[in-house]
């Protein structure tokens, strides 16, 4: 049995309470949600917080999936399993179901949360690239109020986010634009493993069935989730086609910054970045076309 270092523990009963506890306990306090990233690090004594503020009691307050006409709002305490099983969410953002099916295993998904995944900011983490592809924004609450940060500004580096001390991520907002769909693909060495490379793509068609916008987010090919604005620029206004996906895949392969490690060589990861970009864009387009009906064929 691996044993963490001694740690003090408190349970928060509201967001305000959690923020108050963090403020009072100082820099050595950490929030714990599902715990599936933090606890293994504590057991290996890679993380040694002095205090844990448990926010699992906030699930009633922060565990929700609200699908509106122009926006999806996801509470930060929404569990992976809830994201996986939500039909309304899958209807507008099928990328979530794609991703959740390949995140870890059922025990982890029963416990792990959206907010925990984003705040852990592991460079191989899946939901960060999902949210990047969807152009999501993060709602961060502190003692002085609430601020909204786009995904592109949320990640500061590996394991580092815009969430400051005595702040808490409370909600993720995803804009819903017409004519869009999304997809996620991941290559791992074994079910439940971290990604060798993963890609999330979202794509929007205009009334002429050409590409109004497209976004790609890559996991595990850089210090943090890689957003590729070059892909968006290249695809906007273009006809959906194999040539378009090829172009985007080429951009993804050359723009990412993978390193060789036990999951694979940098060359292979670069290849996958291209391959998975092509695959997810193609799937997202096919889904968007199905939703748009026969007029887009």
């Amino acid at each position: 049995m691996q044993v963490p270092a001694p740690v003090e523990y408190a349970r928060a009963i509201s967001v305000e309470h959690a923020i108050g506890l963090l403020g009072r306990l100082g820099e050595e306090a950490r929030l714990i949600a599902g715990g599936h990233s933090l606890l293994p690090m504590m057991k290996l004594r890679l993380a040694n917080p002095e205090y844990l503020v448990d926010i699992n009691d906030l699930h009633a307050e922060l565990g929700y999936i609200e699908v509106g006409p122009t926006e999806v709002r996801l509470g930060a305490m929404t569990r992976h399993r809830e994201l996986l099983e939500s039909d309304p969410l899958a209807a507008v953002c099928p990328i979530f179901r794609d991703a959740e099916r390949v995140i870890a295993d059922p025990p982890v998904r029963n416990r792990g949360t959206l907010g925990g995944a984003l705040c852990q900011a592991d460079p191989s983490e899946d939901l960060s690239s999902v949210c990047t592809a969807l152009d999501a924004s993060c709602v961060i609450q502190g003692a002085d109020g609430v601020r909204v940060v786009p995904m592109d500004d949320f990640h500061r580096g590996p394991y580092e986010t815009a969430v400051g001390h005595a702040e808490i991520l409370t909600e993720v907002r995803i804009p819903i634009r017409p004519g869009g769909s999304s997809a996620y693909a991941k290559v791992d060495r074994r079910a439940g493993d971290w990604a060798v490379v993963a890609a999330g793509a979202a794509l929007w068609l205009d009334e002429h069935a050409t590409i109004a916008d497209a976004r790609v987010g890559l996991a595990a090919v850089g210090p943090h989730t890689t957003h590729l604005p070059e892909v968006s620029r290249a695809l906007r206004g273009r006809e959906p086609s194999e040539a378009a996906w090829e172009l985007a895949g080429g951009i993804a392969a050359s723009a990412c910054r993978p390193v060789t490690d036990s999951r694979g060589s940098a060359d292979y990861k670069r290849h996958l970045a291209g391959e998975l970009t092509r695959r997810t864009l193609r799937t997202a387009w096919e889904r968007a076309r199905e939703r748009g009906g026969a007029s887009w064929r």
């Binding site: 044993v3 079910a191 060798v196 060589s265 060359d267 292979y268 695959r279």
Partner: protein, 791 residues
């Protein structure tokens, strides 16, 4: 009597599962003794360094710490080094240097396991870093750092040399051969990774001067003898208990420093001391497996007649040679690398070296290195088939040892006991629908782009298990015999005590079935006792698939001895000559009847009551109905099998999916087919793990990169197909019921089938070989023509 049909009560459910499925198994870590203390081990963070100083003052000052022990303290008692099973020595705690990352440097005994672990953080060790030896291929370079400067006169990292076969004869054949195929094959370091890590509870009674050690051991008797010789405690004052064991796979054969720490801790404190390894400690510091770099060569005629196999092996044994293998076999049973083929010549030379890596070297269900040997020859045969443009099945069929050649003496001196290889191969082809699979493959290849790359891999293995004959095999001078003690109670139920220890193999069921079959009892009426040196006869334990070949034979012979005695008693009861009696087990009940007069006689239960009763017994027959046996096998047993693996590879991502796996196993007479199949399923899963994902790697500093189950991947149900198994039965001629060992067959036979399938799938890319583990990245590199071995 041998039989080709399973034993009575063949597929009965496992008796031990009554407790396991209720969560009532009792493992070492479940043990709670009054006043028990807890031990934690401080391990080296670096691979190679001189220890400058160790400051334990702060740890000793921890309020819950009872003792802090360093190598220097052990050295004062002569306990700093202990013998390994292969005649080397290993540091119990490092005194001079640390020689691998994870090596034991100090230990703490405290009131609870949390305090023990916390106190490790308070020990301050100053290391003077040395150059680590990580790359096995550089270990003998003149400028390589010397690892074993503890051995007087040692000037390099050489561990041992070994050879087998006839170098000159092999050279002569290779010189004139029409076709020669050569390939370097790396079988990388892997780990058994049992679900239960290693641990012990030591309880030294200072009044009785008696040590009780509960430990995770596959060989309690051998451990008792070793501990006695090493620690100087008389053997009769040591009791080793191996309770329920959560998987062994060879990982629990060695004596680990942690066991000794617990013993020393208990002697020092006068209280029971528990040590339980955590997952990282198990993966980083306990017995690994494989780690062979093999230069393989195969010679043949253009018509496909295999003439010779030759290999040179560079073996990485880590910092200490902790291999568990019979003394005369430092390379284990690698000598069976000639495989299942009738060839003219064979030769193998082996050089073993030390590196700054964890010691060990044989663990993991390999039958003493047969996994490596089978991988070598089965890859070479496949490469030869590719070279000759031959179907890999027909090439194997052409070269098999024929059924009429058994017993067959191989070119390296192994006497294969029995076999019918074509029959097993044909059954596998039939289950697989081999011709249809090849047709589908051709069709997919013709369709070209976008299709999954389909591969069909074949392997055929012969194992040599059940070590072993006294004349050839011992470990540290201990003969590899096993004992059995059988007592039939007055009411006709029985207890059988055996010297082998189950770790999940179902001994409590199969040994009951063996006794029940021989005595005409119900298996539920036979209790199996094992794992406690105070209550079982001496024997060398469970590894190398030896339980059924050795201890199983002992059990059968003990039961037959009891039955012989029962016949004398029954003759007295019926007032006839013993030879006039006929034994039968119709309707499952054993009885003696007067020949030709069914129903005239007595049941085994009636005989048992008479044996313990007040009535007269025949002259010269003692009361009671017991027997004891120590069984020395005459030969090993040679199970074999034909495996076919079908894979699909995504051409875009290079991800390998195992679509089907067909395994036909012949392990002679089967006792409980369900248990045999379970062992095969487990071994096949092991094989897919080794072929596709398992790998203990190191960085250039000697840091172990496989220190958690997030880094060291083992397969799940999602990576394996529904196994398709088949059976042929060729009884073992030297075993009393014709049974052969099977515990490791599938682990040994499956890796080459998977690798051969992947290479077959990549044939359109011109790939000849790629080393395990065939991760998506390595498969993709192979498709690009630049796969590198896993160093």
């Amino acid at each position: 009597m041998t039989t080709t049909t399973p034993m009575g009560h063949g597929r009965m459910l496992r008796k031990e599962d009554r407790r396991f499925v209720r969560g009532r198994g009792r493992y070492v870590d479940d043990l709670q003794l009054p006043g028990m203390l807890h031990l934690a081990v401080l391990r080296s963070p670096v691979a190679h360094a001189r220890i400058v100083s160790i400051d334990t003052l702060a740890a000793e000052a921890h309020p819950k710490v009872k003792a802090v022990v360093t190598g220097a303290m052990l050295a004062e008692r002569g306990l700093a080094w202990m013998p390994t099973l292969s005649g080397d020595r290993q540091a119990v705690l490092a005194t001079d240097k640390v020689r691998f990352q994870g090596q034991e440097v100090a230990f703490v005994v405290a009131e609870d396991r949390y305090s023990a672990r916390d106190a490790l953080e308070l020990i301050d060790v100053e290391y003077d870093l040395l150059e680590p030896v990580v790359d096995v291929r550089r270990a003998l370079d003149p400028d390589a750092a010397l690892i074993r400067d503890d051995v007087p006169g040692k000037t390099d990292n050489h561990c041992f040399d070994w050879e087998t076969g006839d170098a000159a004869a092999a050279e002569a054949v290779f010189a004139r051969a029409e076709v020669v195929v050569r390939q370097e094959l790396v079988f990388p370091r892997v780990h058994p990774a049992p679900m239960e890590t290693c641990g012990a509870v030591a309880d030294y009674d200072r009044i009785e001067e008696k040590l009780t050690l509960w430990s995770t051991t596959q060989a309690p008797h051998a451990h008792r003898t070793l501990l006695s010789m090493f620690a100087g405690i008389p053997e009769h004052r040591i009791r080793v208990v191996s309770p329920d064991i959560g998987g062994g796979f060879g990982n629990k054969v060695p004596v680990y420093p942690g066991y000794v720490h617990a013993i020393v801790g208990s002697i020092m404190t006068g209280r029971p001391v528990k040590w339980t390894e955590d997952r990282t400690e198990n993966l980083v510091a306990s017995g690994f497996a494989r780690d062979y770099v093999m230069q393989g060569e195969i010679a043949a005629t253009r018509e496909g007649r295999i003439l010779a196999v030759r290999s040179h092996v560079l073996a990485d044994h880590g910092a200490f040679n902790g291999t568990a293998a019979p003394r005369k076999f430092p390379g284990g049973f690698f000598g069976v690398f000639t495989g299942s083929y009738d060839i003219e010549a064979a030769y193998c030379s082996m050089t073993a070296v030390h590196t700054n890596k964890a010691p060990g070297g044989v663990a993991y269900a390999c039958s003493f290195r047969i996994a490596e040997a089978v991988y070598l020859v089965e890859r070479l045969v496949d490469m030869l088939a590719a070279e000759l443009d031959r179907d890999p099945v027909s090439l194997r069929m052409q070269n098999f040892i024929r059924p009429d050649q058994f017993p067959y003496t191989s070119r390296t001196g192994w006497v294969y006991d029995s076999g019918d290889y074509p029959r097993a191969m044909e059954l596998a082809l039939q289950i697989a629908g081999y011709d249809e699979l090849r047709a589908e493959q051709a069709e997919r290849r013709a369709r070209g782009a976008g299709e999954p790359l389909m591969g069909i891999g074949v392997s055929f293995f012969t194992e040599a298990v059940g070590a072993g004959p006294r004349k050839d095999m011992d470990m540290l001078g201990l003969g590899m015999a096993d004992g059995c003690e059988l007592r039939v109670h007055p009411t006709g139920s029985a207890v059988v005590r055996i010297s082998v220890q189950t770790q999940g193999q179902g001994h409590e069921t199969t040994f009951a079935q063996l006794i029940a079959e021989e005595l005409g009892l119900h298996p539920d009426d036979v209790d199996v006792v094992h794992g406690d040196t105070d209550s079982t006869p001496y024997g060398l334990g469970t590894y190398g698939s030896r339980s059924t070949p050795v201890s199983g034979a002992a059990a059968v012979l003990a039961a037959r001895r009891v039955r012989d005695k029962a016949q004398l008693i029954a003759a007295g009861m019926l007032e006839v000559a013993p030879d006039d009696l006929e034994w039968s087990t119709a309707q499952g009940g054993g009885r003696f009847d007067v020949r030709g007069v069914p129903g005239s006689g007595v049941t085994i239960q009636e005989v048992a009551m008479r044996a313990h009763g007040a009535g007269d017994l025949p002259d010269g027959v003692e009361g009671g109905l017991d027997a004891q046996i120590s069984y020395n096998p005459d030969n090993l047993t040679y199970p074999f099998g034909a495996y076919i693996c079908v894979v699909d590879i995504d051409p875009g991502t290079a991800v390998v999916t195992v679509r089907r796996f067909i395994a036909v196993d012949d392990c002679g007479t089967r006792i409980n087919e369900m248990i045999v199949e379970g062992q095969i399923h487990g071994g096949l899963t092991d094989g897919i793990g080794m072929a596709l994902m398992e790998f203990i790697g190191f960085d250039e500093h000697g840091n172990c990169l496989g220190g958690s189950l997030m880094d060291y991947l083992i397969p799940t149900a999602l990576e394996v197909p529904d196994w398709e198994t088949g059976t042929t039965v060729t009884p073992a001629p030297d075993h009393p019921i014709g049974a052969k060992g099977v515990g490791e067959s599938a682990t040994v036979g499956s890796p080459p089938a998977v690798v051969n399938a992947v290479i077959d799938a990549l044939a359109p890319y011109g790939v000849r070989h790629a080393d395990m583990p065939l991760t998506p990245s390595r498969v993709w590199e192979a498709m690009q023509g630049r796969a590198a071995p896993p160093f």
